[in-house]
Symmetry: C2
DNA sequence: GTGCAAAACATCGTATACAATTTCGCCATC
DNA sequence: GATGGCGAAATTGTATACGATGTTTTGCAC
């Protein structure tokens, strides 16, 4: 029934008054309801969630450890505004770890996992064809979930957490520097990767993954905005 | 002069009342002055550093994000006591990322970096020959610094932070499950890796790195302690 | 003497309060 | 009219206070 889930949630959220807020804000950032640079004042966050500044502050601190929020001393917290250089580092990191994760995942993958991956893919495709903001947001999330799922399958909780951070930060980068309207220009590439895994073509799957990541990065416009950059760093 | 550095430090530490404490505790954990499972009560930590529970709590929270401290709801914070499975995941993660980091580092390495690496190696060797607790602790740190330095050279701040976490947690694992007295049984392996990089034998350097990590893990006794495990989790 | 229950104690979770720093607006002055 | 400084308002940094939860101890009954 609902009781089990509710109790579980209650037990979690009890310790995690702050974590609930953290998760809510993170979701808002990843789904781009919050734009990079937006100020997240402790009081505002606290009022919004009906908690004290203490918890709001804890949540913001947590997000800063994940790189989604930058806190500046005596000035407050802002949704992270990754520099082009940071963006490059994020994708460099992904190219570095995702082939390895894919290999680990492929070694342990079960038929049920493949089914699950294909379900994700279907969902992603469905959302792509839909119109509207909510569909867009769900699509963004689904696109990241594919990469996350591989980390889950790999069975390494540490790499999973790291990938969560990388995917979330990627979403931020794409929001800032993305050019093409469709963030998931490489939707079909996900399918190709699954197919390669299924047919045990591991090296090819890794190659596809590398290309996929590179394609995402290639869609960005990572040129520095000199004069604009200063203005934006101040206010926007 | 000193002023620039001092000011920089002052600005840093001002924002980081909590971060100073976090760093101090982390250092104590990594250098094994604090054993896994040790209780870190918020009040005690606060009193120790002459700050309120607020800051102590923030520091402990931060350490829990790094996996060095585990906080249990309504029970308090403890120096992390990684399970054998967690230990395996940590080394699995290192095998996954360190070759990639090494490749990145090799691509950007400058002569000055190699000099620096060799200096680290020398220092490590010197500490190995010394006796005493302090030398041991410094040796542990130096051994990790080699791996960290490669991440620094790679120029990717994200991977650098990730490696910092992995090295710190490795230290914890070795403290728990290490068998041989010398934690740095593979000291010479560090030198071999540098040599391989210097002579541009990249594939060999990666192989050496993988073997090195595997050697460290092989020195562990990762068998589960059933009855003992429970007792230790309580008190020790 | 043993076992259970209840209360005292300790510790954490959260809110509120105060101090320090920054920011913004206003007025005087050039 | 522009500029610079001074003061008020807002925001963050830190401490303290109070309620909730877990742990230990004490006392009573069997």
């Amino acid at each position: 029934m609902k009781s089990a889930a509710k109790v579980q949630q209650a037990e979690d959220s009890a310790e995690t008054g702050a974590q609930q807020i953290r998760d809510a804000i993170r979701e808002a950032i990843v789904e781009r309801r919050l734009s990079p640079g937006t100020k997240l004042s402790e009081s505002d966050v606290g009022n919004l969630f009906n908690v004290s500044r203490t918890l709001a502050r804890a949540a913001l601190q947590a997000l800063s450890y994940e790189g989604l929020v930058s806190v500046e001393k005596n000035r407050g917290a802002f949704v992270a505004y990754p520099s082009p250089d940071e963006a490059r580092q994020i994708f460099s990191a992904r190219r570095l770890v995702e082939p390895g994760i894919l290999r680990e995942a492929a070694a342990r993958i079960k038929p049920a996992d493949i089914t699950h991956l294909r379900q994700l893919l279907l969902e992603e495709g469905r959302l792509m064809s839909e119109r509207g903001q909510t569909a867009r947001r769900a699509e963004i999330k689904a696109s990241g979930d594919f990469h996350l799922m591989l980390a889950v399958i790999s069975g390494n909780a540490i790499m999973q957490r790291f990938m969560e951070e990388l995917v979330a930060r990627s979403s931020l980068v794409i929001a800032l520097y993305g050019q093409s309207t469709a963030s998931s220009c490489g939707h079909s590439e996900h399918g190709d990767i699954i197919s390669a895994i299924e047919s045990n073509e591991l090296d090819r799957a890794c190659q596809l993954m590398l290309h996929h990541i590179t394609h995402i990065e290639a869609d960005l416009d990572l040129r520095e905005r000199k004069s604009l950059g200063l203005k934006e760093a101040f206010e926007l």
